[in-house]
């Protein structure tokens, strides 16, 4: 078999996090009973007209700036005409001729090194509704709630060569968009959808092979599987002397296989033309400046800043900034209690352990910066020891308890009663003459045993440092 190279380009649809739809004031909230988030405009009733949501333009500009694009300061919408029941106007308002952003790029890093994936364009468009098949009534129903939810489509250049690069690109893209607040990018809810254009060619070839477009992957893992499956399928065709047909294919993750949806021959002519109901969008220098000023700090900058400002290891900074919510949790906690290293440790060790144990994503952490800050303060003030702190944190993480209340309610506070400690140690020493003898003959192990016994008696609520100190003192008197 010859050696083949896979050429990959992505079309990523991202649902924008605006409160209202792109051309009307209906809510964009996910879920909701069918056909309750719609109005005459988004259901395309005769005579209605679209009015552009300015926030959509700002989010698209923000994404474009973060992806190093040129902003098309005079852009406009076009109509894409096709019939389908989920598209009530029978055209989608989109952008073909003058997309809002062009010519950008994202730097990705994989095991094979760093590279830049080009962004061909970003355009704004409206989402369609959803068809629901009713098996009981043997009919198909339409839910228009999603109609008119704003999307941006980010089209990459065919610059990727492996599934690994595709995942790196998507992860980076997702983080950038989340940091911008432009989208929550939840693949499961469909707010980030990636279509993959894939072709193969012999290593060294300069011409691109015939590509297929793959749809319907709803996780990164499914994307990786789909790429592998399609790569194999195309190479097999070529090896058997057959041709790859330019077509759209639908990935079925359960069957680990893809199926042809439509070929280029029966591809529709969308008869694009300028949307006459919306005037061209003029993005003035001032407006552009305004959006630029509002750009938040993105992941790469944040990572560097954490290393410098908080003096935490690069590895920790990468993990913490890897999820927007985690970074926010970190910064807000540090703002409340200082001690960045301590905060970082709680996130890196205990939080990660619990996330894994609970099979949770960091996005869904529910405890507050204040709760973590208070816990750290309790340790700091010597009110609980670290062992107890871990127990409390687990409750904070799982049940959202207030650390101070929990410690008090369960009597977990450190016992600072020196008299009690002294009498306890004296009792333990008198009950364990052998251990004293061992200690005096130089067996240091005995010391550990005595500390352990004391801690057990004190129900874990004593300061281990103090136990050591007092034991040493009292052993001398025996």
């Amino acid at each position: 078999m010859k050696a083949y190279e896979t050429v990959l380009g992505l079309e990523v649809h991202v649902e924008l996090a605006t409160k209202t739809k792109i051309f009307c004031s209906c809510t964009t909230q996910f879920g909701g009973e069918q056909n309750t988030h719609c109005c005459p405009v988004c259901t395309g009733m005769p005579g209605t007209l679209p009015v552009l949501n300015k926030q959509v333009v700002e989010y698209a500009i923000a994404a474009g700036l973060a992806l190093d694009c040129t902003i098309t300061q005079k852009c406009r919408f076009d109509r894409k005409n096709y019939f389908y029941p989920d598209l009530p106007k029978a055209y989608q308002i989109s952008q073909l001729y003058f997309p809002i952003c062009r010519d950008g790029g994202i730097e990705i890093e994989t095991e094979s090194g760093k590279k830049t994936v080009g962004i061909h364009e970003i355009h704004m468009e409206e989402d369609a509704g959803k068809l629901v098949h009713d098996p009981w009534g043997d009919c198909t129903l339409v839910d228009y709630n999603r109609c008119g939810v704003p999307l941006i489509e980010i089209v990459s250049e065919p610059d990727m060569r492996s599934a690994e690069e595709v995942i790196a690109y998507l992860e980076k893209l997702k983080l950038i968009l989340q940091y911008l607040g432009v989208s929550d990018c939840k693949m499961q809810e469909g707010s980030l959808r990636a279509d993959i254009n894939l072709s193969v060619r012999e290593v060294g070839a300069t011409e691109l092979g015939t590509r297929t477009e793959m749809k319907n992957m709803n996780s990164f893992k499914a994307i990786a599987r789909a790429i592998e499956g399609e790569r194999k399928r195309q190479i097999e065709l070529i090896e058997y002397g057959k041709k790859v047909i330019q077509e759209t294919r639908r990935w079925d993750d359960n069957k680990d296989n893809s199926f042809a949806m439509r070929s280029k021959e029966d591809a529709q002519d969308y008869r694009y033309f300028p949307e006459p109901d919306l005037p061209p969008i003029e993005i003035s220098d001032e407006w552009l400046e305004e959006v630029k000023k509002k750009q938040p700090e993105l992941r790469d900058e944040k990572m560097l800043r954490y290393e410098k400002e908080f003096d935490i290891p690069a590895y920790d900074a990468a993990i913490i900034t890897g999820v927007k919510q985690l970074a926010a949790l970190f910064e807000e906690t540090v703002a409340l209690c200082g001690k960045p290293k301590e905060v970082s440790n709680w996130l890196m060790v205990e939080t990660m352990r619990l996330l894994k144990e609970q099979e949770m994503e960091a996005e869904n952490i529910s405890f507050t910066p204040m709760q973590l800050a208070k816990l750290i303060k309790l340790i700091d003030e010597g009110k609980i020891n670290r062992t107890v702190a871990k127990e409390v944190f687990e409750q904070v993480f799982k049940e959202n308890v207030e650390p101070e209340e929990y410690v008090e309610k369960h009597g977990l506070g450190m016992v600072n009663d020196d008299g009690l400690l002294r009498s306890t140690i004296e009792r333990i020493l008198s009950e364990n003459p052998q251990s004293i003898a061992d200690y005096k003959s130089g067996k240091t192990k005995a010391m550990g045993f005595l500390v352990g016994q004391t801690m057990k008696e004190m129900k874990g609520k004593a300061d281990p440092g103090k136990i050591n100190q007092m034991l040493n003192e009292l052993l001398r008197t025996f």
Binding site: P40, T43, G44, M45, P46, G47, T48, L49, P50, V51, L52, R79, N81, F83, P85, P88, K89, A90, Y91, V142, D269, R271, Y272, F273, P276, D277, L278, P279
Partner: protein, 495 residues
């Protein structure tokens, strides 16, 4: 209570305000006339008898409470072309495909009329989806010209123009995409204004060609039209193509004074194809202006010679997209005869649309299809820009442009549809105004030997409505309104 229906809208408004006539009396009188005449003319698709009477009482209360003192049109019955959405009342575009469509909302113009105390008395007939120049493409049968029922009223707002001429409404709203207000106004001997694109909100107007459509008034004189335009114009946040201007007080322009006004007549509007009688009538009108102190001269406006093909490419392209939503899925007509989705689309649309609409949608789909876009659609956009430039240049020299509205008077019923190309060419003097987005008025300037009205067209610069209203008013003062001899049928009913 007799003969109030021959009054102008403003005259009736004054009587109502002075409590000489109640709104209910006015509405009843209007309904009575409709009952007697509409079987002969068929201006209406829906007569809103119950709604109008209920509304009349409501408006009377508001008038009595002094809430409508600002509105000279309060209580005056009027008609609306059936392509403007009226909440709860059928809005069909005279098409089978929308035969049962009841909008869930009111068009902005309807909201504005309601605020001004208007009483909508019915929805008027039109060419199907406003495509046609005769009102014969209506799925519900043609409207007849009140001057001669063997002739068409023009179109597409033929029902509105005919209703105003036949005194079945005091005034009406029409829509004008390529002449659909001005040409029927001309054929029916009444006055109609097509405002500057962006002056009147299109929200709730079922689109034919979005970049050309404008709603405007049809009345028995320019004063009524100016008063109505004042009510319906203005920026609408629901229509992004509507434009915010500081002044909409068009009635201020009702002044008999054209002294020093510079009026240009395009030679291209007087050449081959123009009926000799109309030519004479237009030149007579020019003389009237000259005698009142205006400066009138002829000039070249060659760009308009390409207006008809450019218009049909652009209008059909937009229509093919705008009318795609009528697919039998959500509302309107659905075929009974289908298996699967493709057949729902194909059969509903094949059975639901008439021939002229299908022709235009096919032309439109063709000019936008891949490989033809540049040769047709893009080229038409270039022509549009050139026409716009031609007018801009002309308006550096002239305040208004004068010419005929149509090359002929109303053709006989059945004459036009046999030769669509000829029908398209008859839009020659009106379509360029829509392409350039300019305001224009058509007003009666005489009758031909057949006794059919001739229309004079006055075109203004962008947002120059006041110039053409002033000129039209001055012209009106030099003559008097001629009404047709109307049919009175005692046993007639509502069609």
């Amino acid at each position: 209570m007799k003969n109030i229906t021959t009054l102008s809208a403003l005259e009736l408004g004054k009587l109502i305000k002075n409590k000489e006539v109640t709104v209910v009396e006015a509405v009843k009188a209007q309904l009575e006339v409709i009952r007697k005449r509409d079987a002969s003319y068929h201006c209406y698709l829906t007569v809103m008898e119950q709604e109008a009477l209920a509304r009349a009482k409501e408006v009377q209360k508001q008038i009595d409470a002094g809430e409508l003192d600002f509105s000279p049109l309060a209580g005056v019955p009027m008609a609306v072309k059936d392509n403007m959405c009226t909440k709860g009342t059928n809005t069909t575009c005279a098409s089978k495909i929308l035969y049962n469509f009841t909008p869930p909302y009111d068009a902005t113009v309807i909201e504005k009329l309601n605020k001004a105390g208007a009483v909508i008395i019915g929805k008027t007939n039109m060419d199907e989806f406003a495509m046609g120049s005769t009102t014969e493409t209506s799925h519900f049968g043609e409207t007849k010209n009140p001057w001669n029922t063997a002739h068409v009223p023009g179109g597409s707002s033929g029902g509105s123009a005919s209703a105003v001429a036949a005194e079945e409404a005091f005034y009406a709203l029409g829509s004008d995409t390529g002449g659909s207000i001005r040409q029927p106004a001309s054929y029916c001997g009444v006055t109609g204004i097509k405002p500057t694109y962006g002056t009147v909100s299109r929200y709730g107007l079922i689109a034919y060609a979005s970049s050309l459509d404008q709603i405007g008034p049809i009345g028995r004189n320019i004063s009524d039209c100016a008063a109505v335009l004042e009510v319906i114009s203005g920026y609408d946040p629901k229509d992004s193509t509507s434009i915010d201007k500081d002044s909409y007080s068009y009635t201020e322009a009702l002044v008999d004074d054209v002294k020093g006004m510079r009026i240009g007549i395009p030679k291209d509007y007087l050449g081959a194809g123009l009926d000799a009688e109309i030519r004479k009538s237009i030149l007579n009108a020019a003389e009237v202006f000259r005698s009142k102190g205006a400066i009138v001269e002829e000039f070249d406006l060659t760009a308009v010679n390409y207006a008809v093909p450019a218009y049909y490419v652009i209008a059909c392209a937009e229509a093919s997209s705008n009318l795609s939503r009528f697919d039998g899925v959500k509302y309107g007509y659905r075929t009974e005869n289908y298996e699967g989705l493709q057949q729902v689309y194909k059969n509903s649309r094949s059975e639901g649309f008439g021939a002229e609409v299908k022709r235009r949608m096919m032309i439109g789909a063709f000019v936008l299809s891949s490989g033809y876009y540049d040769a047709f659609y893009n080229k038409a956009l270039k022509v549009r820009a050139i026409i716009n430039e031609g007018f801009q240049k002309a308006f550096e020299k002239y305040d208004i442009i004068l010419g005929p509205t149509a090359p002929q008077t109303a053709p006989g019923l059945g004459e036009s549809l046999a030769d669509p190309l000829k029908m398209y060419l008859s839009d020659i003097y009106t379509v360029s105004v829509n392409l350039a987005g300019l305001p224009a008025v058509s007003l009666p300037c005489g009758l031909d030997q057949k006794g059919l009205p001739i229309g004079l067209q006055l075109i203004g610069k962008h947002f120059g409505e006041k110039d053409i209203i002033r000129a039209a008013y001055s012209f009106e003062q030099a003559g008097s309104y001629i009404r047709p001899t109307l049919i009175v049928s005692e046993e007639g009913g509502i069609a």
